[in-house]
């Protein structure tokens, strides 16, 4: 676009949402980044003021505003705590698209999103190859967590402790499924999400085991694409829409009551962001999005709310597990009780709450790469709360949080294992 008038016009369309911020500043109390920096431009009020300033030509530096707007975890803490109900997340995602449209997408991101992510087969193949060679560059550091570190990759990844790509991704073991409803009378579509497919296939297997145990039919189609959030949060609407389309097509081929995912971020993207960001798509696609998004559920919420679980009493020697509430699960979808019920289904575990269980882990998708230091500082607080809970296991319904929390615990040399609630339930079956 690179046309200032077009930029102002598009920002002007956000005006109805921007104007609802009354500048009370209550978002300062909950923003994880503001908690670290104390800078007004890091909190939602500051970002909204900057976007409004840009729209009204009081601020003349779109690049400066873009830098501020993207210093954000998209965790939604501000929106969840906003007295006047400002839809801060919607605003920031739309603003990212508008600003990227004006400033252009970096060549690296073009290569990643447009060259690779939108082509699921190629993406799977490339990562499959990478998984064969990654051992050459990395050294295992923590056997409980299963993390590694890499001196070779330090220039790119910093001091991060990595969770490596799985030797066999879920789609290799289980390329597709289409089983009828069993005793539950229900059938679900299963969207594992990239991380549960490629890094934590154990989570995907656990979900399938639990669904089978409850007699739930499963439709797992081949050719699933990323949910689109990495592209959208970089402002790449073109790749985002392509990914949404691919998924609409593969899931249109099945019949199911619900679509479940074990990833909080995928669930909230497909349920809330797909409908919100659909205005550029065709009426048929918009209708398909509406129909699909109504069926989407977090897998913990599905098994508890739709299957009706009755947890047994915990065993005397039960292992203490603490729960991290992912932002995209609790703040965005209001799911926080169900993961605890799922954990209670395994009598060998008992839940021990940590302080501030719903504080963000600091991952924020690519934020952890672009703002590594801040991400690690926020993550360190989460790690301290996990450690202080005394639990031997930390559970969370989001593989992205699992990556970040594995990294933080491993860097601290902690022997606390990181699991998805469905893994713990599946262990007991």
């Amino acid at each position: 676009m690179a046309d200032m008038r077009e930029l102002l016009k598009l920002l002007g369309e956000l005006d109805d949402q921007l104007v609802s911020c009354m500048r009370c500043g209550m978002c300062q109390a909950v923003c994880p980044i503001y908690g670290q920096t104390g800078l007004e431009s890091d909190v939602a009020r500051g970002k909204i003021a900057l976007l409004e300033g840009l729209a009204k030509e009081l601020v003349k530096d779109p690049k400066g505003v873009q830098d501020k707007v993207t210093r954000c975890l998209l965790c939604g803490s501000c929106a969840a705590n906003c007295p006047s109900g400002v839809k801060a997340l919607d605003i920031f995602l739309k603003a990212r698209v508008i600003l990227t449209g004006y400033m252009g997408l970096s060549t690296v991101k073009q290569a990643i999103f447009r060259g690779m992510l939108v082509k699921p087969k190629l993406f799977n193949k490339l990562l499959g190859m990478a998984s064969m060679f990654q051992g050459l560059f990395t050294t295992p550091v923590n056997d409980i967590i299963g993390s590694s570190c890499s001196r070779w990759l330090e220039p790119v990844l910093g001091e991060r402790h990595l969770m490596l790509l799985a030797k066999t991704p879920l789609h290799k073991d289980v390329p597709s499924l289409d089983t009828p409803a069993g005793k539950s009378g229900l059938k679900v579509a299963f969207f594992p999400g990239c991380l549960a497919d490629k890094i934590f296939p154990r989570v995907g297997h656990a979900v399938l085991k639990v669904l089978k145990h409850h007699g739930v039919g499963v439709f797992l189609p081949e050719g699933q694409a990323c949910c689109g959030i990495p592209a959208l949060s970089s402002g790449d609407r073109q790749s985002y829409e392509k990914l949404v389309r691919t998924n609409l097509e593969v899931f249109a081929k099945g019949q199911f009551d619900y679509l479940v995912t074990p990833c909080a971020t995928c669930t909230s993207t497909m349920k809330k962001i797909w409908p919100m960001m659909s205005e550029g798509m065709s009426p048929t696609e918009q209708a398909a999005i509406r129909e699909l998004s109504a069926k989407i559920m977090d897998v913990n919420a599905f098994v508890v709310d739709k299957l009706g679980l009755t947890p047994p009493a915990p065993a005397a020697d039960a292992v203490a597990v603490t729960v991290h509430d992912p932002c995209h699960l609790k703040k965005s979808l209001g799911v926080s009780v169900q993961p605890r019920t799922v954990l209670a289904m395994n009598p060998h575990y008992k839940v021990t709450e940590m302080a501030a269980s719903d504080a963000c882990c600091g991952c924020g998708g690519s934020f952890t790469l672009s703002h590594a230091d801040m991400s690690a500082k926020i993550g360190q607080q989460k790690r301290d709360n996990i450690k202080n809970s005394g639990a031997q296991v930390v559970a969370m319904g989001c593989p992205a949080c699992m990556l970040q929390i594995s990294d933080m615990l491993s860097r601290n040399g902690d022997r606390v294992s990181v699991k998805h609630p469905m893994e713990i339930y599946a262990e007991g079956l």
């Binding site: 005006d15 109805d16 104007v19 609802s20 009354m22 500048r23 009370c24 500043g25 209550m26 300062q28 109390a29 104390g38 800078l39 007004e40 431009s41 500051g46 003021a49 900057l50 300033g53 009081l58 601020v59 003349k60 530096d61 400066g64 505003v65 830098d67 501020k68 007295p83 006047s84 109900g85």
Partner: protein, 459 residues
């Protein structure tokens, strides 16, 4: 601002604590008042009190206007800077220096967050009562500079009642000491009193000594439902006349009740014309006794229904409804103008009546709730500042609200401050001599006029 001066500030506070890009500066151009943003020339964040003093001196040496900013939650424009001026952030000065349990006081830096302080004090078994609506993010320095109030004002007073001393920098960066750690202190002029509510126009706070008290042992909350605003207002007066001072005595009008109910589904009676939310606290015996009397008074004066909270959960429910009031109103329209003109509590019926007339006259939606017990109502105008014609009516309505409040023996602002928004009305409430006296005082203490110029007394 010239580069050489910027580099001098950098040398004082460190490069990482100087913000000079346009987008950084624009983030400090506004506060919570419905006023236009004003772009400062530079923003600095001192990390020690010593450096804060040097920043003040450097600004004065260069005649640079300086606005101190805590969390920027001000509702009257007190933290909107001067064009091209300096914004000094206090949020790196956030240490609680001392909590003295034997002598019931605390010493804090200005950037300590109010709610964090109150929680820390509570953890030691003590109580810091001032609870402004923004306490989750507001700073104690800002509370003192604005003399912030809150829900507990009726019984426990406001911020000024808890300030035992303020040490502050004069424009030359010298520390001026005022007050003490003792209950009694008559040494010198009451400079601490002068600092409270001075909105950053007379000095820059270095540290603050705050009074603490033992917490009440018990509390009881109730909600009284009225079919007539007058009956509710009369009940307020009757409770006080019965020599009972509730910790909180809050009011909601019908529009606010309906809006809260739409938003929070708290089970509020939507056909009620007014609600009183009342809490008495103190010794358990006294609480039981007063709660009974308050209930009897409400009944006698025509409350249709009284709901006494039986446990903590029910008590919470009563206050959730009140806490939701502003949020619920704010969602109705794009712009929310929260006024706080205050009248003697016996004049609340007259004030409510006048607010109704003003809403009709200017065809505006006004929801009213607030601290009925201390006469501090919050008429809240729901509007859209982008609608120029309507905005003019809003401004005229605000003028009328002030005129009515003053004619009833009230004041322009109970707790939000004068700042930029209300400085033009100062003379209406006081007189010419008062404004001139204040200006002479300001001129003597701040000859170059660098300290938050334009606030309270104009320029």
């Amino acid at each position: 601002m010239n580069d050489a001066l910027k580099r001098e500030f950098e040398a004082l506070v460190g490069k990482e604590n100087v913000m000079e890009s346009e987008s950084d500066r624009f983030s400090y151009a506004y506060d919570a008042a419905v006023l236009d943003p004003v772009l400062p020339g530079l923003v600095v964040r001192p990390e020690s009190r010593e450096v804060l003093g040097k920043v003040v001196k450097l600004a004065n040496d260069n005649g640079l206007p300086l606005t101190v900013r805590g969390s920027g939650t001000n509702l009257s424009g007190g933290t909107i800077p001067k064009q091209g001026g300096l914004v000094v952030l206090t949020n790196a000065l956030n240490k609680i220096l001392e909590i003295n349990e034997a002598d019931l006081y605390a010493v804090v830096e200005p950037g300590v967050i109010t709610a964090k302080f109150a929680a820390e004090v509570a953890a030691r078994g003590l109580f810091y009562p001032p609870d402004p609506g923004s306490q989750a993010v507001s700073t104690l320095g800002g509370n003192v500079a604005e003399n912030a109030g809150g829900l507990r004002g009726l019984k426990y007073g406001v911020t000024k009642d808890y300030v035992m001393g303020v040490d502050f920098f004069d424009v030359d960066g010298e520390i001026v000491k005022s007050g003490s750690r003792t209950v009694k202190c008559v040494t010198g002029l009451n400079l601490a009193g002068l600092m409270v509510g001075s909105e950053g126009t007379l000095g820059v706070f270095e540290k603050i000594i705050l009074k603490l008290t033992p917490p009440p042992l018990a509390a009881k909350a109730m909600m009284a439902v009225f079919d007539d605003v007058n009956k509710a207002s009369e009940t307020v007066a009757a409770i006080i006349a019965a020599k009972i001072v509730p910790a909180t005595l809050e009011f909601m009008d019908n529009f606010t009740i309906r809006t809260v109910e739409d938003f929070a589904h708290a089970g509020l009676p939507v056909d009620a014309q007014a609600l009183l939310l009342i809490e008495v606290d103190g010794h358990p015996g006294q609480v039981a006794d007063e709660a009974e009397k308050v209930e009897a008074i409400c009944k006698k004066l025509g409350a249709q229904r009284i709901q006494v909270a039986k446990d903590a959960a029910e008590r919470n429910k009563v206050w959730e409804a009140r806490r939701a009031a502003l949020s619920a109103l704010a969602r109705v329209s794009p712009t929310t103008v929260l006024e706080d003109a205050t009248v003697p509590r016996s004049k609340i019926p007259a004030m409510m009546h006048a607010l109704g007339d003003i809403a009709t006259k200017y065809k505006l939606t006004i929801g009213t709730f607030g601290h009925a017990g201390d006469g501090n109502l919050h008429p809240t105008i729901l509007t859209d500042r982008r609608n120029k014609e309507e905005w003019k009516r809003v401004e005229d309505a605000i003028d009328d609200i002030f005129d009515v409040a003053l004619s009833l023996g009230g004041t322009l602002s109970g707790e939000h401050g004068i700042g930029l928004a209300k400085s033009k009305y100062m003379e209406k409430e006081t007189n010419r001599a008062t404004v001139l006296f204040s200006r002479r005082l300001k001129k003597a203490l701040d000859p170059k006029g660098i300290l938050n110029p334009g606030k309270i007394i104009g320029e």
